[in-house]
Amino acid sequence: MSRSGFRQDMPPTGGYGDIPYKKALQIPRLKGYTKIAIATGITLAGMYVCTKQIQMNSRLRWEENDARLATWPLVKAEQDRLHLLQVRKNRDAEAELMKNIPDWKVGTYYGKPIYHNAPENHKAYSPDEYYVHSDPKKELRSYYSN
């Protein structure tokens, strides 16, 4: 009972060929020497620009340092002025606080003057005493506002 036209599915004569397992896709790749040349070129260019950058940065540092030196006396004078303002404020507050006490000498500590600080009776006071008559919030704001 053979049907005409039927064909059994069989391997081709001589068997199947080898499986082409090698990578067929051709990815364009650079050659080794080209890669080395590119890396060396980038590095050399980077070194050249970096030496220029070092020169620029050192010039900027010079300028910054010069500006700092030029403004230093002004900054110190401003610091001294703020110090004197605070000290005067302390003295005024002390005078206001102690005005009812007779023969109280303002600005003395056991008889020694603390605002006329000649070297022998110089008394350095702590930050707590220095800022004792000021508003903490206001001082903090003035500290962080620059």
Binding site: G46, K52, I54, M56
Partner: protein, 264 residues
Amino acid sequence: MGLGQPIADAFKLASKGWIIPFRSNVMLYLFGPFISFFISFSMWYLLPFESQVASFKWAVIWFLCLSSVNVYGVIVSGWASNSKYSMLGTMRGVAQVISYEISMGLLMLFPAVLGMSFEVYEIFSSQKWVWIAFVSYVALVSWSITMLAEVQRPPFDLAEGESELVSGYHVEYGGMGFTLLFLAEYGCLLLVGFMLVGLFFGALEEFSVVFFGLMAAWCSVWLRASVPRCRYDQLMMLSWKSLCPLGLGSVVLAMIMKISAGLG
């Protein structure tokens, strides 16, 4: 809606009890993770921010000092656990960190010399025209490899080595101790990422430091998936025979460039 999951995990880890191993050195066992965590997050002090509150002059030296002290966390927590696995992991970790410190110091001198400062903000902002990565990509790659070994991330995580030592120096830790050691490791990793983009790529704005630093840290997680753990002798040979000479060469190169910039 898995957003609450990490927070719930953190609460779970923090609320677990401490299991203290038999005959362990209890005080040091409890104290080790805190040393590790504290030192690791003290290093974050050097990162410059816009407010300039926490940027100071010797930041590179601070980084070198603290990363060498950081090994005490590993020593204390590994030794005090009274376990052979953790002791072996500690020995490995200490030898590794100490040998990689030398090349780390030398390679960090390279951007410091070219930026003419030890202050991180100055080094970051000195790269206006060219990134230091373009000056020597060798220094960049060597520094990245060194820092991977320094914070003991794969492929250099010999101190943890899950396949041979169970979990290395933190075998005996669970709950909060494990959390602190874990946070210390990842804190170091993130800081190294931020330092990488700043020192070698001149990232200056907060956004670019954080974004590209996180990308650098993500690359280390990527490396864990793709690179097998290396052998211990290979690790030591890499440090002493490859990275140390490269570091010395980088310092010499930086000196030559500095001198030629002064001459020209």
